[in-house]
Subunit: 205 residues, 2 copies
Amino acid sequence: MGGALRNDAREARRSAILRAAVEVFAERGYEDARMREVAERAGVADGTTYLYFQGKEALLVAILEENAKAFLKRARRDAGRQKDPGAKLRKVIERHLVSLESDRALAHVFQIELRHSRRFLRQVARGQVAEYLRLLQRIIAEGTASGLFRDDIPADVAARAVFGAVDELITSWVLADRPRSLAGQAAPLLRLIFGGLERRAGGSR
Amino acid sequence: MGGALRNDAREARRSAILRAAVEVFAERGYEDARMREVAERAGVADGTTYLYFQGKEALLVAILEENAKAFLKRARRDAGRQKDPGAKLRKVIERHLVSLESDRALAHVFQIELRHSRRFLRQVARGQVAEYLRLLQRIIAEGTASGLFRDDIPADVAARAVFGAVDELITSWVLADRPRSLAGQAAPLLRLIFGGLERRAGGSR
DNA sequence: CCGTGGTGATTGAACGCCCATTCAGTCTCA
DNA sequence: TGAGACTGAATGGGCGTTCAATCACCACGG
């Protein structure tokens, strides 16, 4: 039999290659990244990467899918644990910021490298974004239905605006030479978002 | 003397190449765009493009710089014509949406193709974005100083959040198969942004 | 306990594709 | 008629990818 040990070793090697790819892509950018360097940094021969991934672009897809899926899972779990739509939204946004702040190289790949223009890749990347947008939209619609949020902003527009605001803060953070803590910007960002979404208190009754 | 006619002809040819580049980049994506196709569509020989631009990437830079500068100029003029910071912000955002909606191919290049590499993004594209962000930040700070906007959201965070929100709506519009009018989404977007920025009426005194 | 054969994983030098760019020749016009 | 603009076939090189050769490991028989 192949044996669990063998599978573990294989898995470890796969992870090493993937991690090396994240770092090299982040440092040099996808186009200037050399497969040779990914292999070298993972401690394997050039050809070995092709035993684990179909090619350079497949690495990018794997980085996206594995991390995006894990993030979405955590975000949904976070949201599920709250019953107030406001708390749900807050948790998801905080999770978004914290997740990417914890791994700058990965954040770089997500914010910059995954947006290069190969058609099918964009479809893959946008597929994950679309799923995240749907989560936001559902939470916001729930907030509107419960009377917490104002009803003159369609949930899909709101979801995209919120995503865009968060996304841009992260992109600046990734590109900054001396980045200020992302989590530290969460409070004013949330004030802005909630101020925009919530019904005006004065208008009640 | 070279003659004005000659310069006009030269300028027309330059524009034709630039326009062809916008279209080919938008259709195929920067990487899959072929210089041959740009030349063909501009009605010139392959080599001619190199008499007008240094190379493929220089086309991208030229597209960015010429259009971004024109946009910034119009945005500043719009803002200068208003005296209320709220009206300024509104005008600039509307200008942003309308400008890109009027040229979908150009919008595609701006939203997708110009973000393809770290080097390019940091050095060239982000320079223009930074200038736009500074404009937004100045307007917002003015609004805060005048008591129109709340003072617990730093202007730089607000500027980036606003830019991100607008930017994401445009990107979805560019990527959508059947896009809904961008200008039509301006009203709810502005409600969201102003709701987030303005002081709560209830807190006055 | 060794030796041995076989299987699958790994290696890395060499390949070849692809296309941006060049430049020697041709054309145009004053 | 010549200076500059234009042409487009030819070129070159960079790098992702391949694959014949080698290695590591294990099962098994003696």
